[in-house]
Amino acid sequence: MALTGILRTGLVQLRVLDFEESLVHYRDRLGLSVVGKIGEDRIMLKSFDEFDHHSLVLRRADSPGLDFFCFKSLDKQTIDNIAKKSKEEYGYPVDVMTGHPGFGEITFVTVPTGHKIGFYWEVELAAVHPMLVNPHPWDKEPHGMGVACLDHALLCGPNQGETVRWFTDCVGMSITEYISTPEGDGHICTWLSGNTRGHDVAILSYPEPGKIHHLSFQLQSWDEIGRAADIMGRYNISVDAGPMRHGITRGQTIYFFDPSGNRNETYAGGYEYFPDHPTRQWSADHVGEGIFYYSKELNERFLSVLT
């Protein structure tokens, strides 16, 4: 039995301007493996420590950004309940996608921040996955930064409070931390977990709908963060901030950009969360150390640069 019906961030589709540069970035630098293509305009990838068919789809488009963000869910009942409540009590659009390679039905809810949030529970075991019998740490040694799996995303849009209420009340996730508005009448940003991670998704209040601040990939240690930083230096990857620690979630991190301007994060550590843990709060005047724990200085770029 899971802690909630939401197991983890499992499938994300990002738009990119160019395949060639994007593959160098995601495959050769981050260390994902290509699973295959969907038609001419989409490429499926996965990380070495993920069991499911694939976790990231890159779609070639004329602008970068997020197409959809999906949670692997426990069972059909969980998803049916979310779909029914989203439609009947919240009045949000719900649609079902079938035929995504390797996946069963994916049920999407379009939330007031403008994002398509998906839920699925049936997915094929990947051709290459963590070993199951007398397992080694990995079947084939990780390459590049060696990211282990998807970790979380920070999504940005209007109606932040309403969307957070849906994540807690309808999806059943917990608020692990939040930053208050200066007036104390709501949240600037809220961190939500459906499992034992500090967050699976965070929602930032922003005037334009459907934006993504960053997509995060998991590393195992501060050493691996350092090695990832070396790879970013070696290959002139556009680094936004870090290596550093977040006050919020306590994760160790680097923010950087993919070749289309989508912000990525390599994330390690952070605390374990359980649903009985109290929510941690940050006041608006401490937001600098919440994000950039060492420098405590929030740069303008962090809040204004999104895709």
Binding site: D62, P64, D240, F257, N262, N299, E300, R301, S304, T307
Partner: protein, 99 residues
Amino acid sequence: MQRSFTLRIESADEVREFICHPGQSIVQAMARQGASEHPAVGCRNGGCGVCKMRVTGGEYTLGRMSLAELNEQERQQHIYLACRVYPTSDLNATFIGRK
């Protein structure tokens, strides 16, 4: 060795000059010369739109940039995302930023 170029970037109430080496974008040249906190320095990869500038003089080549951040009318007025403008001569530009 190929010669480098001089960029004159006008923004708000100041004009700053930067040295740009062949192959560098306007924003790369700025970021590497003490202007990393300039509002034009964002994703540096043609996606976020914060570096929008009007090129007012000089030669350059263009890389891929997000069409969500730039319309055809702007392109006709030599308005581009400066992180994907690669000067091939001395160049003048005016910072606009993301609306």
